[in-house]
Amino acid sequence: MSALLPLPILLPLIGAALSILVGRSRTAQRVIGLTVLSAVTVVSVLLLIEVDRDGTIATQAGGWSAPMGITLVADRLTAIMLTVGSVMLLSVLVYAIGQPGAERNHVGFQSVYLVLAAGVAGSFLTGDLFNMFVAFEMMLTASYVLLTLGGGREQVRAGMTYVVISLLASALFVAALALLYTATGTVNMADLAGKVDELPDGLRSGFAVLLVVVFGIKAALFPLFFWLPDSYPTAPSAVTAVFAGLLTKVGVYAILRTQTLFFDESSRAGTLLLVMAGATMLVGILGAIAQDDVRRILSFNIVSHIGYMAMGIGLFTVAGIAGAIFYVVHHIVAMTTLFLTAGLIEHIGGSSRLSRLGEMVRSAPVVATLFLLPALGLAGIPPLSGFVPKVALVDAGLVSDQHAVVAISLLVSLLTLYSMVKIWSGVFWNPAADEPEASPHEVGRWGGPPLMILPTVALVVISLAIAGAAGPLYDLSQRAAVDLLDVTSYIEAVAG
């Protein structure tokens, strides 16, 4: 079934081209976008079933054999990320179609969005470090355009910061690639796995740290996170939702993949990752508490929770990595849902400032419920989706005797709850402090247009399903973690 592998990259790219051709008809563009992303979702689910049953599969695009050709690999981690990612991309596209704003006003939205989808899928599927760079660039270039689509003053200002920091990270990535290629003579990831081992100790540790820095910028790890809370809040809310859910997680995926595949236990940047994880959690959540804007609070929460994933990765045990993978799945769904509800809050209240919003639990009870469930899930309240991955991470940390980072993670859970309660009381519970603005839109009984409410409801249901199916999902994450730490299956799939 390796014929499925190129589809998640190819389909969106073909869709993007078609979408430009039919630029005159928004309806045709929407049909193309929705069809392509639904197809990608189906392909991803098929891949996940296939890979979980038969193990890692690989294909050589263009018929050149590894390590020269373009290798595409799917192991369990790839398939999990692809499935969650494509479901998010599809739901957010439906939301964007329903929302007045970005998608309706810009001819290019649909095609750029599909290029973003192709880039995300490419980053997950590639078995070649240079192609990972190309896929990253595809994804980032699309994100530059989506972020600055409105062309207003705030967006251009934030867009500059975002583009400059991403370009810096890309230059570093190219430099790291050049150095790796000089040292080993290959950029194929399965090939690198063996060849990095032959390098001297110091060089290996150097590469490990260099790759953590390169991908740490994309993943927004402390101290490389500062661009995120600055740039994300200015984009249209549908765009921010998909950025919040997916883009940082692509960085986390890259850290996880490169650290486990290339380096053995002696040279992995474990301690560095744990220190960065603790600082990321703490600084991120303190930033969130200081803010007075729903989007900015949520943006700082993204940063803070990247720390949990880094903590799981930094432990480098099966339990730690399994916890991190499960946490990534939960976090993608919860964060995307929260940003979608933030968009609904703005749609109803005309602002995202806490001081200008109030008592929305009366005017929009549906939106209040849609916010509360993922918010409590994010804080890790049982039985919602954040609880099991957090328990898994804390347990893994205790087994590895990393008490400091476990203590920080528990404290940050409490502070997350505080920041969520701050939004809850500011937006839904208390009366507005300043003069509330009149709603710019017809609100209706459900609190928004059906196409904005429906995908949000769907994502809340998915996050409840994650909580309900926590047992099987954790088992799946554990199998994925075993795959990652025992690299032979990956190497054999690529070579064979």
């Binding site: 270039t141 409105g150 705030e154 583009v163 290629y181 710019p440």
Partner: protein, 148 residues
């Protein structure tokens, strides 16, 4: 030869880093371009050198490494495209603000001073209207592109 390439890359990275740390957008742009050139030079230096790698043009053992050149070409094309986008963005920023400088984050300053100022952005037309008003309010003789 490799030392020369390495020194060139180091020089480009050094100047690029200095320029990126400046407060003027055009300098940051040039700095980023130099940084990506540095990375490309590093890529060029990573392969084996030799005769042009054309099949039938000589002894394959003496060929230069074509992979490194392919990498560099790809990286150049990507950085070219993104630099063009960045130039367009900074031109847009200059049109909107009349200055060639990195702006402060309004919400950051508001948090620091304890006050709040923000507006919603679902209605893009109204938003552009306000941008235009801001633009009109900028005096003609406003200092443009002054070094910081």
């Amino acid at each position: 030869m490799t030392i020369l390439l390495a020194l060139t890359a180091a020089l480009l990275f050094g100047i690029g880093t200095y320029l990126v740390l400046q407060h003027t957008l055009s300098r940051i742009l040039i700095g980023l371009a130099l940084l990506s050139h540095g990375a490309n030079v590093l890529l060029m230096g990573s392969g084996r050198r030799g005769t042009p790698p054309l099949i039938g043009a000589g002894d394959p053992d003496g060929f230069a490494d074509p992979l490194a050149q392919a990498f560099a070409l790809t990286a150049i094309v990507i950085s070219f495209g993104v630099s063009a986008l960045l130039l367009a963005l900074s031109y847009r920023s200059w049109i909107l603000t009349g200055k060639d400088e990195v702006e402060d984050d309004v919400a950051d300053r508001a948090i620091a001073s304890g006050g709040h100022h923000d507006k919603e952005i679902t209605d893009e037309e109204e938003w552009h209207e306000e941008d235009r008003l801001n633009l009109d309010a900028t005096p003609e003789d406003d200092e443009v592109a002054g070094p910081s």
